[in-house]
C-alpha cells in the first residue's frame, strides 16, 4: 500500500491512533524481544527499542465470528484496516481503533451473488478500490470501498502462448497496483516472475524474472552433460516471489523467501544495497575473522514472508521467525523488533505486515491476532533524520542524528549523517572523526582530501620554505663535503670527550675477557651490517648478486636473520599502522604471535620444503643457502611496504592504487628475486627453477593438509578421551 510522506511535524507529534478495542494492554509487561543492529563485523549490537507492542487485537472477538487462517492485511489511505480472512473467504474492514465496519463476504456479480474462494492477497488503492487476489477462482476481483463489484479480471488469455509457459496455472496470491494503474500479480508456483496486467486487465507479460546467469564452471560442466542431463538441469528453477508492495515512488518492493528486491516498472532490480550487509535479515556468521577483516555470512537465517514499503524508501520486512527488519533506501539496517512466542509482541505464525501511519501492524495467522507496534522516541529520531535528509534539511537531519546518538552510540549511520553535515560546513576534522566512527570510508576519504588540500593551502608558505631550505641544505652539504662537516662538528668532539676516549683505549688495549667479547660482538655487528647492506646491491643485480652472496660470502645467515626480522617488523607495521582507509580488519583484535607466525611459517615451510626437494634433484644449495637466499629475496618488501604503509595514512581512496601497487609490486619483485636466487643457489636452469618452485608450493600445500588433518584428528581424540573420562567419572 502507499503512504504519503510524513512531514516533520507529523513525525515529532505523537501518532494518535490506537487500537482501543481488543485485549491485553501490555503496558506492564516486559518486551519479549531484544533490539539490535549489526555492526560492520556482523555482530549483533544492542540498541534501545524502536517499536514496542501497544495492543493486541483478537480478530476473533471483533464481532465477525472466528477467523480461519487470515492471510493478509492492508491499510487504506483513510486508515481503514482490511483483513483478508482467507479460510472464510471474506474481508473484514476495521477502523483504526479496531471496531468492525463491515464484512465483505459476497458481492453482486451482474445480478447473481458471487463469492471469493480462498483469496490470499489484498490491495487497496489511494482511491479506495479494493483489489482481491481471488486465488481459488483464479481471478482478480476489484471492489469499491463499500464492497460493490467494479470489475473482474480473469486469468491471462491463452492467446499469449509464447509468453505463458506450458500448463501454466494462474493462482494469484498477491496483487499490487502502481500509480500508473498497472497491475502486478504474484501467482503461486510461477517462477518466471510477476504477471503484469494493464489497466484493463490485459496480460502484458512477465516482469522481474530473476535472470539465471550460469557461472563459468556451470557452463563448463554443462558441456560435459549429455542432452538428457542438460534438460534435467534446465529444470533448476528461479525462485518465486512471495510478496509485493508499492513504495513511495511507485516502484515495487518485492521479496522472495530469501531476497528483497525493488523493481522498476520494467522489472529490473534497482534496490540499493550499500549497507554493511545486504538486506538479508538475520544471518549465520560462519566465520568472523576480525584479524583478517573477513566476515563470511551464510544467509538462511531468515525467510521473508511479507514486506511493507514506508516513507522515503524505508521498508520493513517480516521474517518467518517473527522478526521485523527495517532498512532505509540505501540498504542500511535501521532496527529490528518482534519474535516468535506467545507473549505480547510475539507471534506464532506471522504472515502479513503493514504500516498504519508510523505504527506497524503484524497479522498472526495461527492465532488470528493483530499486533500494533508503536514507535519510541528513538525510532522517531531515526525516521526524522532520514526524512529530513531526503527533504534537503541537512542541518536538521544532523540534529536528529544527534538525538539518535544520545539514545544509542552504537548507531553507525548516525555518525555518517552527522559527518555529512559537518562536511557541508567544512568542518573536516570533526567530519572525519564521525565517518571513522561510522566506518564510512568513502565519505572519510572525501573529507580527508578536502582537509589535506586545506592544510596544504594554509601552510603553503611553511611547506615551501621547508622545501627550499632542504634543497639549500643538500646543496650546501654536497658543496662543503657534508661528511667532513659532520665529522668535524659532531663526531670529533664526541670522540675527544674523556669517556669516549677511555672506552676506546680500553677496547683497544684491554686484554680482559669482556673486552675481547665486546670486540668480537662489534666485529660481528660490523660484518652483519655489511652483509645486510649488501642486500641493497642484490636486489638490483640479482644474477651476480646472488652468486656473490653464496660464493664470495658477501652475505651470511645472521644478515639474513636481520632481514627476516625486518620483514616481520614491516608486516606488523603494515597491519597495524596502515591508514584507516586501507585497514579492513580490526586492529584491536590483532594477535602479535599470529602476526609473526603468518610470516615465519610460510617462510620456514618454503625453505625446508625447497631444500628437501632440491636435494633430491641435484640442487647445490644447502639448507643455509636456501635460507639466506630466500631472506635476501624479501628485501623489497621492507623497502616498499614501509613507505607504502607510512604514506597510506596520507592517501585518499583514489590514491589507494599507489598503495596497492607498492605492496603488490614488492611481492612481485621478491618473487623474481627468489627465482634468480634459487637458480644461482642450486645452479639450475631457468625451467628447472620454475619447476622446483612450483613443486615446492605443492609440497607446502601437502604438508599443510597433513598437518591440519593431524591437528583435527588430535582434537577429535582429545574430545573422545575427555568424553570417556567424563563418563567414567559420572557413571561408574
Amino acid at each position: 500500500m502507499r503512504l504519503s510522506i510524513n512531514k516533520l511535524i507529523a513525525i515529532t507529534l505523537l501518532s494518535l491512533s490506537a487500537l482501543t478495542v481488543g485485549t491485553a494492554a501490555p503496558t506492564c509487561a516486559g518486551i519479549p524481544y531484544p533490539s539490535y543492529t549489526y555492526n560492520i563485523w556482523g555482530e549483533a549490537v544492542p540498541a534501545p527499542q524502536a517499536y514496542v507492542p501497544l495492543r493486541v487485537l483478537d480478530l476473533n472477538s471483533v464481532g465477525a465470528g472466528a477467523l480461519k487462517d487470515p492471510q493478509d492485511i492492508v491499510v487504506g489511505s483513510d486508515r481503514t484496516i482490511y483483513v483478508l480472512d482467507t479460510g472464510n473467504s471474506r474481508i473484514l474492514c476495521l477502523t483504526e481503533d479496531g471496531s468492525l465496519v463491515r464484512v465483505i463476504s459476497e458481492f453482486d456479480n451482474s445480478g447473481s451473488a458471487d463469492r471469493f474462494r480462498n483469496p490470499r492477497g489484498l490491495f487497496v488503492t489511494d482511491e479506495g478500490e479494493i483489489y482481491v487476489a481471488d486465488t481459488g477462482n483464479a481471478r482478480l476481483v476489484i471492489l469499491d470501498r463499500h464492497g460493490n463489484l467494479l470489475r473482474i479480471y480473469g486469468p491471462p488469455s491463452p492467446k499469449t502462448e509464447g509468453i505463458l509457459p506450458a500448463n501454466f496455472q494462474y493462482r494469484p496470491i498477491k496483487v499490487v497496483v502502481n500509480p500508473l494503474g498497472q497491475i502486478y500479480v504474484v501467482s503461486l508456483d510461477a517462477y518466471d516472475g510477476l504477471l503484469e496486467f494493464d489497466q484493463k486487465g490485459n496480460f502484458q507479460g512477465f516482469v522481474g524474472a530473476p535472470k539465471v546467469t550460469p557461472s563459468v564452471a556451470e557452463i563448463f560442466w554443462r558441456r560435459l552433460f549429455t542432452k538428457e542431463q542438460r534438460e534435467q538441469s534446465a529444470l533448476i528453477l528461479p525462485v518465486e516471489y512471495v510478496t509485493l508492495d508499492i513504495d513511495h515512488e511507485g516502484f515495487m518492493m518485492a521479496a522472495t523467501a530469501s531476497e528483497i528486491k525493488r523493481l522498476n516498472p520494467g522489472g529490473s532490480d534497482v534496490l540499493v544495497r550499500n549497507g554493511f550487509f545486504d538486506p538479508i535479515g538475520d544471518f549465520v556468521v560462519s566465520s568472523v575473522s576480525r584479524e583478517q577483516g573477513i566476515v563470511t555470512l551464510t544467509a538462511g537465517g531468515t525467510t521473508w514472508v511479507d514486506i511493507a514499503a514506508r516513507e522515503v524508501g524505508i521498508y520493513s520486512a517480516l521474517s518467518s521467525h517473527g522478526r521485523v527488519f527495517t532498512y532505509d533506501s540505501n540498504g542500511n539496517l535501521l532496527y529490528t523488533f518482534g519474535t516468535i512466542g506467545d507473549s505480547i509482541g510475539a507471534f506464532r505464525d506471522p504472515v502479513a505486515i503493514d504500516s498504519l501511519g508510523n505504527d506497524i501492524l503484524v497479522l498472526d495467522r495461527r492465532s488470528s491476532k493483530l499486533t500494533l507496534f508503536g514507535p519510541t522516541e528513538y525510532q522517531r529520531a531515526i525516521h526524522a533524520a532520514i526524512e529530513l535528509y531526503e527533504m534537503g534539511e541537512y542541518e536538521l537531519s544532523a540534529d536528529a542524528w544527534e538525538t539518535v546518538l544520545r539514545f544509542n552510540v552504537n548507531y553507525d549511520q548516525a555518525y555518517s549523517g552527522i559527518g555529512r553535515s559537518l562536511l557541508r560546513q567544512a568542518r573536516y576534522v570533526e567530519a572525519m572523526a564521525n565517518f571513522r566512527l561510522g566506518y564510512n570510508r568513502k565519505d572519510y576519504s572525501y573529507a580527508y582530501s578536502k582537509y589535506r588540500a586545506d592544510t596544504i593551502t594554509d601552510h603553503f608558505s611553511v611547506i615551501m620554505t621547508g622545501f627550499v631550505l632542504l634543497v639549500i641544505a643538500t646543496w650546501l652539504a654536497k658543496r662543503y663535503h657534508g661528511g667532513t662537516l659532520i665529522r668535524r662538528w659532531l663526531l670529533d668532539p664526541l670522540r675527544r670527550s674523556a669517556s669516549a676516549q677511555r672506552a676506546t683505549l680500553w677496547l683497544r688495549r684491554g686484554e680482559g675477557r669482556t673486552a675481547r667479547a665486546v670486540r668480537e660482538v662489534l666485529a660481528w655487528a660490523a660484518q652483519t651490517y655489511a652483509c645486510v647492506s649488501y642486500a641493497l646491491y642484490v636486489i638490483f643485480h640479482p644474477m651476480d648478486g646472488f652468486w656473490d652472496l653464496k660464493h664470495e660470502k658477501r652475505g651470511n645467515a645472521s644478515g639474513a636473520t636481520v632481514i627476516l626480522a625486518l620483514v616481520v617488523a614491516t608486516y606488523i607495521y603494515l597491519r597495524q599502522y596502515s591508514g584507516f582507509l586501507f585497514t579492513y580488519h580490526d586492529v584491536s583484535r590483532l594477535n602479535l604471535g599470529v602476526e609473526i607466525m603468518s610470516v615465519l611459517v610460510p617462510f620456514g615451510l618454503w625453505v625446508v620444503v625447497n631444500w628437501a626437494l632440491t636435494t633430491l634433484t641435484d640442487g647445490k644449495g644447502t639448507l643455509k643457502d636456501v635460507y639466506v637466499t630466500t631472506a635476501y629475496a624479501l628485501t623489497p618488501v621492507i623497502l616498499l611496504c614501509l613507505p607504502a604503509t607510512f604514506l597510506s595514512n596520507y592517501m585518499t581512496l583514489q590514491e589507494g592504487t599507489y598503495y596497492h601497487i607498492m605492496i603488490v609490486g614488492s611481492l612481485i619483485w621478491s618473487i623474481i628475486l627468489l627465482f634468480f636466487g634459487m637458480m644461482n643457489v642450486h645452479e639450475y636452469s631457468g625451467v628447472k627453477t620454475l619447476l622446483t618452485g612450483a613443486v615446492t608450493v605443492v609440497g607446502i600445500g601437502t604438508f599443510l593438509f597433513i598437518a591440519l588433518t593431524l591437528f583435527s584428528v588430535c582434537g577429535e581424540m582429545v574430545g573422545l578421551l575427555s568424553g570417556i573420562y567424563r563418563e567414567i567419572t559420572f557413571r561408574l
Binding site: A29, I31, P34, A44, V284, V409, L720, R726
Partner: protein, 904 residues
C-alpha cells in the same frame, strides 16, 4: 410480560441461585465434618481426615475453610529421575494413599503425615504361586462361595507320596528319576491334571528360586516341600481370572508377607517390594494466625538401586551401575486453597515487581513457573553458541527473569491466602496453574539439582554422537522446607493487602525498619569510572583501562547536577578500582591509575561528603573478572563448580567471568575490608551480592555448598558488612534475604517478564518497601523505552536512576561495553534535572509514607495512593485522559490530593 410476572420470575431466579449456592455449600461442610480437629489457635483450627490425609484449615473469624486439596487430589507430588534420565512424577493421592502407605501422627500444635510414595506391592504380589492346603483352606473359609470356586479353579492340589514299588510314570521331556526319586505325584481331586500342575510347579521353581536356570535343572531337592504335604499350585490362568483371584486373596487379608511365608515353606522366594518408593513427611501446624507447613527434607528417603543397567542412547549403549533414583523436586500442597472455574480471582506471583494470573481458561496453556532468586549461576544451561546466536543475536533479557521475594498468593472471590516460604526458599520455584480446572499456585522445591554433561565429544558426526546424561548434586538438600500461609479477607484480600501483610511480617522480624528520610527524593546516579578496551600499544594488542569518568570528572558531574537543581544524589561509582568495571580480584583494593591518584580520590570522597551526597563505590565480591598472581584466587581452587564439575563461568557480557565459590566469599571479605577501609569510605555497593545466587557443586559432599547454604552465607556476609562493619549498602535487585541489610535498593524490577501467561504487572515489591527503603528501577537512560520506564518509576513510587559517564559517549562503541549505548552525561544532564524537579515536587513529600492503594483506573491508566491521600495517576496511553477533574496527558502522569475522583 407483566410487571408482576417479571418480579415473580426474578424472585424465582434469586431463589434458585440461593438454593444452588446453599447446595454448593453443603458438601463442603460435610467434608469438614468428616475430619478430626488436631490443633486450634485463636483464629484458626486445623483438621485432618485420617483416612485420606486431606487437611483443612478453618478460619474462625470468617467461617471459611481452606482445604489442602480438592477431593482426590494430592497434598504432595514429587518428581524423580530414573536410571535412563527420565523425569517421572508421583503423588500422594495416586501412589500412596490408595495403598495405605501413610501414617498420621499428632505432633505439638499440629499433625504429621509420613508418606511412602510409590506403590510398594503390585497386585500380583498378593497371590502365592504355591500354597499349602492347610493355609488355602483358611483363606477359602473367608470367601463367598463364588469366590471360593474361582480360587479353587485357579489352583491344582497336588502332593508327593512314596510310590513304593510302583514303576515311575514316564513323562516325556522330564527326567522322572532325578526329579521325583522315590515319589509320585498325586492329587485328592480325581479330575486334577497332575502333569500340567507339575509342569507349572517346575516353572515356578525356575522363576522363584536362585540358581535354577531352567526347568531341567529342577531336582527333587527343590520340591521336597511337597512330600506328604497337599499343596495348591497355581494354574496358568488368564489375566481376568487372576484379577478375581487377587481380589479374593486381598479380601481374605492375604498380604505379600503371607505370600512370602507360603513360598518360603517350599524354599521359594517371596515377591520383592518395589524399589521406587520415596519416603516424604509433611507436618502441618497452626502458628498464631498462620498455618505453617513443614517438610523435613532430612527425613526424606529415596531408593538406592544396586544393579547394573544398560543405558541405550540413539547412538550408543553404555553399561552403567545406577546408584540411586534422585528425588528431583517436591511440590508442596500443589492444590492448596485452589480456585475453580466459576470463581473470580487470580494467582499472585513474584515476577518482576509482582504479577497476576487471572482465572481464565487458556486451552493448552502450560504452567507458569519462576525460580526464586533466579537461576543458579553455577548451573546455567549452556547451549551451542551458534544456536543461541540465531535465535537471539543479543543476550536475552529472559535470563533476568527472577523472583526476588519468596512469596505467592491466591485470591478467590473476596478471600485470599498469602504464602511466605520461610525455609528452603533458595530451592523454590513458584508455580501457578490457572489454565486447568483447578486454579492454584504453590512452591516446588528442587532438593536435588541436576545438570547435564556430554559423554562423548560433540563432533557433528553421527555415530559417536553427543549423548547427554544427567549429573546430580552429590547429596540432597538436608534442611527443612517451610511455608507459612496467612489468610486475608474482604478489602485486604488483594495484592495490596498481600503486600501490606508481607510488609508487617518483615517489620515484625526486624527485616524492615523506619529510617529518617531527607525531604527530597533521592536521585540515583551510577557513574562509570573506567572500562577496558583492546588497544594496540606499539604493535602489541592488549586490554587496557580506558577512563570514562575520572575522580575529578565525577566531581564535575555532581557539581553540574547540583547546579541544575538535583539534590539528595546517591552516587554509585562503578569501575573505580584497578581494571575498571572488570576489575581485579579485590583481595586488595587498588585505585585505577588512569582515573587519578589517591589525592584526587580523596578529594572526590571529601567533596561528596561535604555535599551530603551518598557515595557507594561498587565492587564485585562474588564474581571474578581479572586476577593477578598471588592475589589468592586460583581458577580451579576458588571458582564454584557446575554439576558437571567444570568451573562455573558467566558470559552475559561477551567476556566472561568466574563465579567465586560461596564458601570463599568470607575469606575474600576478610582481606578486602581492611584494604577498603583504608580509603575512608563507609558505604559500599557490592555488585551482585543479594541478587545473584550460586551453589558450588563440588563432588565431595563436605565441600559441596547447596543453594540454601549459599543463601545463608550471602546473608551472613551482608550482615557482616552492614551490621558488624557499619557499611551503608546499596544493593541491586534485591533478594528477600538481603532486605534487612539494604540502605538503598536499585535495579528493582518495575515491570514483569514478558510471559504470555501473566495478565497484569502489579507493584507488590514497591508497596512493601515504600516508606522504609528508598528504591529505584534500572537506569532509565539505558531502558528499552525511555519514556515508559520513567512512567513505570513514577507509578511504582521509585526514584529516578541514571547511569552516566563523562567521556565522549562513543568511547564504548566497538567495545564489550557497548551496552552502555546511551550514557553520555552531557546528553542527559538537562533532561534528568528537569525530570527530577518535576517528580520531586510531586513525590518528594510522600517518600516516607506507605502506599495504601493501587489500581487500574482504565486501560493504560493506573493510580497509586499514599497514606496522606496523595494520588498519582499514570497514563501509558497515547491519548490524554480526564479522570474526575484531573487531566493526565498522554504518556504522562499527574498527582492530586485526596478525594474520591469517582464522585466527579
Amino acid at each position: 410480560m407483566g410487571v408482576r410476572k417479571r418480579i415473580l420470575f426474578m424472585v424465582l431466579v434469586i431463589l434458585a441461585l440461593a438454593g444452588r449456592s446453599a447446595a454448593a455449600q453443603q458438601p463442603v461442610d460435610a467434608r469438614l465434618a468428616s475430619m478430626d480437629m488436631v490443633a486450634e489457635g485463636d483464629t484458626l483450627a486445623l483438621y485432618i481426615d485420617r483416612t485420606n490425609t486431606d487437611v483443612a484449615v478453618h478460619d474462625k473469624r470468617t467461617g471459611r475453610t481452606w482445604y489442602s486439596n480438592p477431593p482426590g487430589q494430592p497434598a504432595l507430588s514429587i518428581s524423580y529421575w530414573n536410571q535412563v534420565d527420565e523425569l517421572l512424577v508421583m503423588n500422594t493421592s495416586k501412589d500412596s494413599v490408595p495403598y495405605g502407605q501413610f501414617e498420621v501422627t499428632d505432633i505439638d500444635g499440629g499433625v504429621r503425615v509420613d508418606y511412602r510414595i510409590g506403590r510398594e506391592w503390585k497386585d500380583a504380589d498378593y497371590v502365592p504361586v504355591v500354597i499349602s492346603a492347610e493355609r488355602m483352606n483358611e483363606v477359602i473359609s473367608q470367601l463367598s462361595s463364588s469366590d471360593q470356586k474361582a480360587v479353587l479353579d485357579a489352583y491344582t492340589e497336588i502332593s508327593l507320596v512314596d510310590r513304593g514299588s510302583e514303576p515311575p510314570v514316564e513323562i516325556s521331556g522330564l527326567n522322572i528319576e532325578k526329579l521325583l526319586g522315590p515319589y509320585k505325584v498325586v492329587s485328592s481331586d480325581p479330575k486334577a491334571k497332575t502333569t500340567t500342575a507339575l509342569w507349572a510347579l517346575l516353572r515356578y521353581v525356575r522363576d522363584w528360586s536362585d540358581g535354577v536356570p531352567s526347568t531341567e535343572a529342577v531336582t527333587l531337592g527343590h520340591i521336597r516341600g511337597l512330600v506328604d504335604t497337599p499343596t495348591y499350585v497355581m494354574n496358568d490362568i488368564p489375566a481376568f481370572t487372576l484379577n478375581r483371584v487377587i481380589k479374593a486373596f486381598k479380601s481374605a487379608g492375604f498380604t505379600p508377607q503371607s505370600v512370602t511365608e507360603e513360598h518360603e515353606r517350599y524354599g521359594l522366594k517371596g515377591p520383592s517390594r518395589s524399589l521406587e518408593v520415596f519416603g516424604v513427611s509433611i507436618e502441618y501446624a497452626i502458628d498464631g494466625d498462620d498455618f505453617v507447613v513443614r517438610i523435613p527434607v532430612s527425613d526424606v528417603t529415596y531408593p538406592f538401586v544396586d544393579q547394573e543397567a544398560w543405558i541405550t542412547r540413539s547412538s550408543a549403549a553404555f553399561k552403567v551401575k545406577a546408584t540411586h533414583l534422585p528425588l528431583s523436586e517436591i511440590n508442596v500442597l500443589p492444590y492448596f486453597g485452589c480456585g475453580t472455574k466459576e470463581e473470580q480471582g487470580y494467582a499472585f506471583v513474584p515476577d518482576g515487581p509482582g504479577a497476576l494470573l487471572r482465572f481464565v481458561d487458556r486451552a493448552g496453556a502450560s504452567k507458569y513457573g519462576i525460580r526464586v532468586y533466579g537461576l543458579d549461576m553455577a548451573n546455567l544451561d549452556i547451549g551451542p553458541a551458534w544456536q543461541k546466536r540465531l535465535v537471539d543475536p543479543v543476550k536475552d533479557a529472559a535470563e533476568k527473569v527472577q523472583a526476588y521475594l519468596p512469596v505467592f498468593g491466591l485470591k478467590r472471590g473476596d478471600s485470599a491466602f498469602f504464602a511466605i516460604i520461610e525455609d528452603g526458599d533458595a530451592l523454590a520455584r513458584i508455580v501457578a496453574d490457572v489454565s486447568s480446572s483447578f486454579k492454584s499456585v504453590y512452591g516446588a522445591f528442587t532438593v536435588t539439582p541436576n545438570g547435564k554433561t556430554s559423554i562423548a565429544k560433540t563432533t557433528g558426526h553421527e555415530g559417536w554422537g553427543a549423548a547427554q546424561i544427567n549429573v546430580y548434586q552429590s547429596r540432597m538438600y538436608q534442611g527443612d522446607i517451610r511455608v507459612r500461609y496467612a489468610f486475608l479477607e474482604g478489602e485486604n484480600a488483594d495484592y495490596v493487602g498481600m503486600a501490606h501483610h508481607y510488609q508487617s511480617y518483615l517489620l515484625e522480624r526486624g527485616a524492615l525498619t523506619k529510617k529518617p528520610v531527607s525531604k527530597d527524593l533521592p536521585f540515583f546516579l551510577q557513574v562509570v569510572g573506567a572500562i577496558t578496551a583492546r588497544r594496540s600499544v606499539f604493535g602489541i594488542v592488549r586490554n587496557i583501562a580506558v577512563p570514562v569518568t575520572t575522580y575529578e570528572q565525577a566531581i564535575q558531574i555532581v557539581e553540574e547536577l547540583s547546579a541544575a537543581g538535583v539534590s539528595n544524589i546517591q552516587l554509585e561509582y562503578l569501575g573505580w578500582t584497578k581494571g575498571g568495571i572488570r576489575h581485579y580480584y579485590p583481595s586488595k583494593v587498588h585505585l585505577e591509575p588512569v582515573l587519578g591518584g589517591r589525592a584526587e580520590f580523596d578529594r572526590l570522597r571529601d567533596y561528596l561528603k561535604a555535599r551530603g551526597v551518598g557515595f557507594y563505590p561498587d565492587i564485585s565480591l562474588i564474581n571474578v573478572y581479572v586476577t593477578s598472581l598471588f592475589d589468592g584466587f586460583t581458577v580451579s581452587g576458588s571458582s564454584a563448580r557446575r554439576p558437571d564439575r567444570m568451573v562455573a563461568t558467566i558470559d552475559d557480557d561477551g567476556m566472561g567471568r568466574y563465579v567465586l565459590s560461596p564458601g570463599l566469599v568470607d575469606d575474600l571479605i576478610d582481606s578486602f575490608l581492611p584494604s577498603y577501609r583504608g580509603y575512608g569510605i563507609d558505604a559500599l555497593s557490592p555488585r551482585f551480592l543479594g541478587q545473584q545466587l550460586s551453589s558450588d557443586f563440588r563432588e565431595d559432599p563436605q565441600l559441596l555448598i547447596d543453594r540454601q547454604q549459599s543463601r545463608q552465607i550471602m546473608e551472613e556476609q551482608l550482615k557482616r558488612l552492614r551490621v558488624d562493619s557499619g557499611m551503608s549498602l546499596m544493593l541491586s535487585g534485591v533478594n528477600a534475604y538481603a532486605l534487612p541489610y539494604a540502605d538503598v535498593v536499585v535495579d528493582m524490577p518495575l515491570s514483569c517478564s514478558s510471559s504470555n501467561l501473566l495478565d497484569e504487572s502489579v507493584p507488590f515489591y514497591p508497596i512493601v518497601l515504600h516508606g522504609y527503603i528508598p528504591y529505584a528501577g534500572e537506569p532509565v537512560n539505558l531502558a528499552g523505552d525511555y519514556r515508559r520506564s520513567i512512567l513505570q518509576s513514577v507509578e511504582a513510587g521509585a526514584s529516578l536512576h541514571y547511569e552516566l559517564f563523562f567521556s565522549s559517549p562513543s568511547v564504548v562503541k566497538d567495545t564489550p561495553f557497548n551496552y552502555l549505548f546511551g550514557a553520555g552525561y552531557r546528553d542527559w544532564l538537562e533532561e534528568a534535572a528537569q525530570l527530577y524537579e518535576q517528580v520531586n515536587a510531586l513525590l518528594g513529600q510522600v517518600q516516607d509514607q506507605r502506599i495504601v492503594g493501587h489500581r487500574k483506573v482504565m486501560d493504560d491508566v493506573y493510580e497509586t495512593t499514599y497514606e496522606d491521600g496523595t494520588r498519582v495517576l499514570v497514563n501509558y496511553g497515547r491519548k490524554d485522559v480526564v479522570i474526575g477533574d484531573v487531566r493526565v496527558a498522554a504518556m504522562d502522569f499527574a498527582v492530586y490530593q485526596g478525594g474520591n475522583h469517582d464522585a466527579h
